[in-house]
Subunit: 651 residues, 2 copies
Amino acid sequence: SVNQSSTMSDSSGASNSGGDSSKESSRCSTPVLDAYRSDRLRDKMRRRMESGDRWFSLEFFPPRTASGAVNLISRFDRMGSGGPLFIDITWHPAGDPGSDKETSSMMIASTAVNYCGLESILHLTCCNQSKEKITGYLAKAKHLGLKNIMALRGDPIGEDWEEEEDGFNYAIDLVKHIRSEFDDYFDICVAGYPTGHPEAESYEADLRHLKEKVDAGADFVITQLFFRPDTFLKFLDDCRAIGITCPILPGIFPIQGYQSLRQLVKLSKLEVPEEITQVIEPIKDNDAAIRNYGIQQAVEMCRVLLDSGKVPGVHFYTLNREVATMEVLRQLGLWIEDPRRPLPWAVSAHPKRKVEDVRPIFWASRPKSYIYRTQDWDDFPNGRWGNSSSPAFGELNDYYLFYLKSKSSKDALLQMWGEELQNEESVFEVFTCYITAQPNRCGHKVMCLPWNDEPLAPETNLLKDELEKVNRRGVLTINSQPNINGKPSTDPIVGWGPPGGYVFQKAYLEFFTSSENVTALLKVLKKYEPRVNYHIVNVNGRNLTNAPEMQPNAVTWGIFAGREIVQPTVVDPVSFMYWKDEAFALWIEQWGKLYEDESPSRMIIKYIHDNYFLVNLVDNDFPLENCLWQVIDDMFELLDAPPELHSEETV
Amino acid sequence: SVNQSSTMSDSSGASNSGGDSSKESSRCSTPVLDAYRSDRLRDKMRRRMESGDRWFSLEFFPPRTASGAVNLISRFDRMGSGGPLFIDITWHPAGDPGSDKETSSMMIASTAVNYCGLESILHLTCCNQSKEKITGYLAKAKHLGLKNIMALRGDPIGEDWEEEEDGFNYAIDLVKHIRSEFDDYFDICVAGYPTGHPEAESYEADLRHLKEKVDAGADFVITQLFFRPDTFLKFLDDCRAIGITCPILPGIFPIQGYQSLRQLVKLSKLEVPEEITQVIEPIKDNDAAIRNYGIQQAVEMCRVLLDSGKVPGVHFYTLNREVATMEVLRQLGLWIEDPRRPLPWAVSAHPKRKVEDVRPIFWASRPKSYIYRTQDWDDFPNGRWGNSSSPAFGELNDYYLFYLKSKSSKDALLQMWGEELQNEESVFEVFTCYITAQPNRCGHKVMCLPWNDEPLAPETNLLKDELEKVNRRGVLTINSQPNINGKPSTDPIVGWGPPGGYVFQKAYLEFFTSSENVTALLKVLKKYEPRVNYHIVNVNGRNLTNAPEMQPNAVTWGIFAGREIVQPTVVDPVSFMYWKDEAFALWIEQWGKLYEDESPSRMIIKYIHDNYFLVNLVDNDFPLENCLWQVIDDMFELLDAPPELHSEETV
């Protein structure tokens, strides 16, 4: 029988597609939405080479300090937004690279995968390591979600070294070991040297050695830096000539300073070409000029490489810095801030989370916390959230984990949130300034809140006026979304998922407010049953909800051509009880503790923590105008009414 | 900590609710939509007693012949539509009641559960049976999906019998055995005798015996018939007085004929009261008059019972007949044809199918076949259909299984579908007459087709004009649905699920058509990519689709207050390959075989079977007007165009 399957291409034939929907997004797309596509790095490369869509990648080294770790993770988020196909993290035995320290290569690479959603390669050096030790590192990397290894020899201890029997002598030994112990689990990258390895007998010998490394099981090659495009292109031709067929990626080093260039030359034993020294020497004390020149030189070189048609992607040695590399990428047109999101929340790249496509809405502004608190789950909700009565969220004991820590210093936070609080209304003001982006009474913009590390998302900005109104009166909102009744999935503000679809939302509002307000609110909510679902809790465990038997309520969903419904966000009453502990604790951990113990400011925050309620509301009737603002209005109307209209009933 | 949960009632506060949404539907609702509600019969009774919503139940006996089985299943569907809380099937050792024969009590009860979606009680008698045998029957019943047993002694062999040691002597022994072997799995019903069991020492002794039966583990009591309401009400009071607290349901026997009354009296050893004999005797030869009287008497008696406030439901001995019982129920206002459906397709009541909430659309008109072909699955799709590449549908080898068999006789089918077919157009005509409900050229209405056992569903009727047009020209439609963009879930034609929600659909069309048509269709479909998904197959395995990597496509979904998305229908390319075998076979099995082998009519059907294609189309753009009619128009336009516009390419 003849079977002909004509598969639907990623064509942009749909009338409501925006942007170039034929380009595969570099962000780890969810195989749920692209179930047929292999998400192995080598397969992503293959698809990009077939489509001719060039990529870039970024190399970083592990930080030396804890605050360096915090900054590096922020850098990953910022540089990740431009769409690198992958990043890699170097390995230095002296830095305890396989440990659990926040400064270790292992932890940094794992964080990039799990918390920043980036495809990541962990470097691994093998010389002077036992096979057990190496196997242990690989197993740990696999467990943490890492799928790619750059196999290196590393620098042997001491000038002369002798080959160990049954030890790792060369990178090829490591490649063989990985394949032997882990089969095809990892994608393996190896290093190439466009002018030959400094220790090689000859350029030709080093080429043969590279071929052996690749034949032993490597998937692609990244080269040492070089200064002229011809150097790389000749090397590339020579590799192809001896039968190396895998992708070979040029390592680009934008010159960032005179000293760093000298240092680099010393380490790599490369010679800086005449045409570069001539430019650099005269301006060696002018860092800005050198950086500009470095950018220029890198751009020109990359252009030649890309125009050759033989270079599918370029690899940057960032030295953990942003500006120069990003500028080069922008000039090359490779920096693409793809606004499309496969799902409305930040996806993790751990393989075990591959099919995860639904989350509770509560962690929308704290996705890294959500990933942390669910890291021990063996499987993740797919399709539906379901009726799991014990979702087993891990405790959040340390609010200062390097991937959770606020980017702002204590001083900056005090400036934004108040060096001194007079009363509860001082707190209302902070919220209002955050919403409106207006400076506070001391002239500082409130760029974040304990629950929101970034300014208002574009979607939340749609509700700015209503949010301002309610925050002024002490309905302190920390999460919200408008109702959406079938907007195109390519909508720049609220869209997500493949193009050609339609996205929907129920209106949602989550806020802290006083118990007096809650008493009035409960009366008002009776009139809105069953249209409005509510859940109201305080730090002591008071718990009021009209969720039918604690079932999850879908609040975001999308319909796409040729696919099942995607329902990425729910309001789940069970998860809310875990979230509320975190939400209440953030008052103290991130705000209260800025002040002295027993100080009036601290007492105000503590009062709010102890006495306010956390409320979430859902308007189920998504085709109608959002009624939640009316609910709040009605609540205030009741509070403002003369006393005889209040009943004696309190919460 | 104080936990207060106020649960959302089934209140009809929602503005778009129709009907009395506070009444729990008697149809086996899906716990997916009502996940918190226990679906045990005794819990359904408890909820009905709390709400005061009275019920009825129906008792049947197993048929004697295979065609009797076919008729009885149809009767279940018809009488089930009025909303019985449960039905029960009697057990007669002489009739091989535990066998796999279509006439056995076991098979009939199992069919009622699995194929008719009715809560069912299987009677079981225990005397002269070994414990192993009884345990075997119970295990088989459980495996088949039965959850309720009526535990009876049965009639011992011979007039005198002796108690067996370690045997089953009384029904109480069976009750104990069921609880001991199966814990709380089954709900157990026992028989009560309002005037005492004929063999009991005394009325009081029999009451005590009933209490012992109930204490041994029975959940409720159904009584023997009686002729006066007082008889039952006194019995009920006496039961309560000695501490029997479970539900006690009156058994109602509408008098249907003089002979059947006499027979009944002989078997039950009851006395017919004077006031009844006085009416019956004079009219004993007038069956119609007796039936009318029987209806009247039953209605009056039930009214007294229900008005007492002590009777939550009434149980009818139907003698497998419909008319009298249905009339009594209508007059009592208990017959409620609840148009609400928990899901758009007929739900099965097997416990293992409890969470099933998504099916392929193809079996929409053949749900019993779907249930049959998936009966061996251990679990059922919930939430999403998913990417199961081998759903393992069972073969459909016997198109004449009693629960699948057409209700129409061979003669009736020939009248509808043609005693003699002239050509393919004769077949087109049959389809057209089915769609339009106009008589065929011989004056007969076409009430069904091989793929559709019933006339057009109301939803399909919405598309009648367009369907007629295309069928006339040889696009032989067998399944379709309109697009729906957020109609209230209480919509009388397309609604389903809880009230207060919104239902959505993508437009769908499935038809047989010639290969010439398909050639033109494929050209037309190129213009509609990716908006229209198609799948085109023939009996030989030709297989063309643009479904991305054979993924399922959601075509029906609903949004409800406080719940996750329900997506009950998909177009699944993998399942389509199983369905198409059944769809093609039905040409031959149900139509072709009506004619002589080698006859011209048979040859016409065979030609269609061998050469036509089965096509399904989905219009993904559900907010826009259904484009599938335009697709078909375009196809005919291409076919009607002068020859030079056709390419030589054929399918």
